[in-house]
Symmetry: C2
Subunit: 261 residues, 2 copies
């Protein structure tokens, strides 16, 4: 295969990629996002996302020839870039030299929520690594989808990296009005739970989770908002040590585990 080449870090396509990597508003304007790393790029190429531009270094091509040719085959354009360009694009010290610009995959619609399924809702999760980690665990445990409200950008490169591709496969539903969605789902007989550190709440091990369930996980510092709390059945994760010692993604993992157990 022969590829176009880019040597200069001042090339417009490199600048565009850097801006997609660092700027959520620019990502929304372009309807595109930036990924780094062979495995993530491979996952993206197998997902429903549009594969717009592939960048790779000569070293990467030597090491991962087969993978890169396959990804390049799905991309609109593929560029062989200099080590200096890779360094500019990379967020890590030991870059694999493989990068991708993808179009936003279509998110799922509220109407696609199966009211007999198991879902997690994330309210105002701010740390992209937490968002990614929760979605990664959700996929592993077989959760049907994640509802996001007021969270950091799912197309943030850190979220994508810690999600290990799960954000490209898991059903993601975004909403600006979690309250209304919860009311609708409750009308359709779904159990809607919110986690609280309050030990007077029912233990997550004692709640009936046989039917459709949506479990809301709140912001890292402040937990679930009062407005949402008032609409939900409250559950707590019984703890013996310091309550503050369970971080948001671990709490989410335990709740999802109990939902699927």
């Amino acid at each position: 295969m022969r590829f176009l080449t880019i040597d200069s870090v001042n090339n417009e396509k490199i600048k565009h990629a850097v801006k997609l990597s660092s700027n959520a508003k620019y990502r929304r304007e372009c309807g595109a996002f930036f990924l780094e790393g062979l495995r993530l790029c491979r996952d993206a190429a197998e997902s429903a996302a549009d594969i717009i531009t592939l960048f790779f270094t000569e070293d990467a091509y030597e090491k991962y020839t087969h993978d890169i040719e396959r990804i390049a085959g799905k991309a609109e354009t593929a560029y062989l870039i200099s080590a200096a360009c890779a360094n500019k694009l990379s967020d890590t010290k030991t870059s694999q030299g493989v990068f991708l610009i993808c179009g936003f995959p279509l998110l799922a619609d509220e109407s696609e929520i199966d009211t007999n399924g198991k879902y997690i809702a994330l309210e105002s999760i701010q740390d992209p690594s937490n968002l990614g980690a929760v979605c990664r665990t959700a996929e592993a445990l077989g959760i049907d989808g994640a509802v996001l409200c007021g969270c950091c950008d799912v197309f943030n490169p850190k979220a994508q990296r810690s999600a290990m591709g799960s954000l490209l496969r898991l059903k993601i539903i975004k909403t600006d009005d979690l309250s209304s969605l919860i009311l609708k789902l409750k009308d359709r007989s779904m159990t809607v739970l919110a986690t609280t550190p309050d030990s007077r709440a029912k233990s997550v091990t004692e709640i009936d989770m046989t039917g459709g369930v949506l479990a809301v996980i709140g912001n890292e510092g402040n937990g679930v908002s009062q407005e949402i709390f008032d609409l939900c059945d409250l559950v707590t994760i019984p703890m013996k040590g310091r309550a503050e010692s369970l971080n948001a993604s671990m709490a989410a993992a335990l709740v999802m585990w109990e939902m699927m157990r």
Copy 2:
């Protein structure tokens, strides 16, 4: 209170602190380690560790006067340092300007393992953030202690940070010979489990964990070593999605949760 001051980043005490922060061998030679952040420093001051040196900036003193005076009261020496020094010491972009050098706390001895208790063993965990996260969850769930074999340094600042103080409170037992320890604990009727992605193993939900249990979590990439596997009852975490999607600290959290459930 009046404090000694350090202005120059070339001061020997600043250099000593930086080296403690970055060099595990130097930490062992000195029997001391370095912590950053108000909360961690406060946790350390309340722990059994020797508090050797406190460093803080003027800004930090203004914001956290009460806390800093309390930590300073426990420290052998306390230094008011310049912003340049704080910048040199800090691992983060938005430093709180509070740093501590502590002596190694005494680790627990194998003989202190209560054979009716619940313990986790970490074999060759290499990522300090994973080590810290697992110990943080262990403390939250009420696990009695953690056995470490071949892991990264518990006094690594990243491990301490992600542990949120739990490494200073949880019972930590270090061993170079996990096999012998496992044999001794089995002789004393403890159940010793190792986690495996192999779906033919018994589910973690079906194992009797009423008595004393030690659960071994293996290296992030390779899992538990064959030598240890051969000594353990195997358990698996049943998954519906991609098995690879459950990272080491999430797997550890689910196993500990089932031990304590």
